[in-house]
């Protein structure tokens, strides 16, 4: 599911069909993998509240449902407090590799509704696996560099890279016709040369 299609969705109590609030921002953990641990819900009776991801029973197209409205709680740790203050968001932030290359602005997240696990970070014209995430701060989102500066590292999946990153590798490899290639063509052409 895309975060942008979840944002603003109404949260409904599955027992009595009352609206409890709407989805505002995700609370994410970045620790080897990126996971949405909780949702910040706006407009509840008590103002913004934290809803643990596991407390959501259904992610419907127009509403998400909660079986137990007592799952709403106040923030308990720093990531939750930061999320509630609007800090440490991924979406809208510049994405920089750990070798100092700006990949663009994160525009969306794709995540698994059963676990909250993030799968892709969507950029303006590209997307990368959430597995590249190293950190989310107030200045930038940091992701792992492809490490091709020291020669392309086998096992580093080419599909994980942006088109701009693939183009840099193609330039190093002096690949003919690279400037007119699509991302898929670059992956194909480079895949054989590693």
């Amino acid at each position: 599911m895309r975060w942008n299609s979840l944002r603003g969705t109404t949260v409904v109590d599955s027992n009595d069909a009352t609206s409890l609030g709407s989805v505002s921002v995700p609370v994410m953990s970045v620790d080897g993998s990126a996971t949405i641990e909780a949702l910040i819900i706006e407009g509840t009776d008590d103002g913004p509240a934290v809803l643990p991801f596991s407390a959501v029973s259904e992610f419907g197209p127009d509403a998400i449902t909660v079986d137990d409205r007592s799952s709403f709680r106040s923030p308990q740790d720093d990531p939750e407090r930061a999320a509630m203050l609007g800090a440490h968001r991924v979406i809208g932030k510049r994405v920089i590799t750990d070798s100092g290359v700006n990949l663009g602005t994160a525009t969306d997240l794709i995540f698994d509704t059963s676990s909250g696990a993030c799968e892709r970070i969507v950029l303006a014209n590209d997307d990368i696996p959430a597995g590249r995430l190293l950190g989310v701060g107030s200045f930038a989102v940091i992701v792992a560099a492809p490490q091709h500066s020291n020669g392309y590292r086998p096992g580093n999946d080419l599909d994980d890279l942006t088109k701009a990153e693939l183009y840099e590798i193609a330039k190093d490899a002096d690949l003919d016709g690279r400037s007119t290639m699509s991302k898929a063509e670059l992956v194909d052409a480079l895949g054989g040369s590693s």
Binding site: D98, S99, A140, S149, N150, E168
Partner: protein, 189 residues
């Protein structure tokens, strides 16, 4: 891709932790003449009128340098500025304006810039000089490769004679020139 840049072009680049926080940007490059290498950066507050700050960034603490950011592991690396305290604030100004000489005493020109390669880790790879007659390009700005241990003083840098043949006016070619030069150096030994 190993990108080569003038050290001065890093000025103003944000210093970002792996956690995505940024409190400083690069002010100047600092060269250590005794140990013949780049030892780090002085820092300033972000923005055009950013004030210099006390903390410095040791070269060893740099995780990666790219066109858009200098990456450090955590903000703890700023705490220890030992070794850089004694360096004058104008840092790289020391070597610039000095002369690039070869082992046999040929003057290759005035040093304009230190060239470093970006990446993890970054390295000092060359000098930009205002070429002397010895390079047959009087007054032109040329790039010359340098070995990793570069004898360098206030007034001059001392280079192997072979660099004379590898001067280039294309920054992108410096890497190739440096490769040749490294091989020759190995061959000599």
């Amino acid at each position: 891709m190993t990108r080569l840049v003038r050290a001065s072009s890093i000025t103003g680049t944000p210093v970002v932790t792996l956690g995505g926080e940024s409190d400083y940007e690069i002010k100047d490059v600092v060269l250590d003449r005794d140990r013949q290498r780049l030892i780090g950066f002085t820092l300033r507050e972000p923005g055009f009128f950013g004030q210099p700050v006390k903390p410095t960034l040791p070269w060893d603490a740099v995780h990666g340098i790219g066109p858009d950011a200098v990456i450090v592991k955590t903000d703890e690396v700023f705490a220890d500025s030992a070794g850089l305290d004694t360096v004058p604030a104008d840092g790289s100004g020391d070597v610039l304006e000095g002369r690039a000489l070869t082992d046999s005493g040929i003057d290759l020109g005035k040093i304009l810039e230190v060239i470093i390669s970006l990446g993890t880790p970054p390295k000092m790879v060359g000098l930009e000089v205002e070429a002397s007659e010895a390079l047959h390009a009087d007054g032109a700005h040329l790039f010359i490769p340098v070995p990793e241990a570069l004898p360098i003083s206030n007034d001059q840098a001392l280079l192997p004679d072979s660099v004379k043949d590898h001067a280039t006016n294309d920054l992108a070619e410096l890497n190739a020139a440096r490769g040749t030069f490294d091989n020759e150096t190995k061959g000599d030994n």
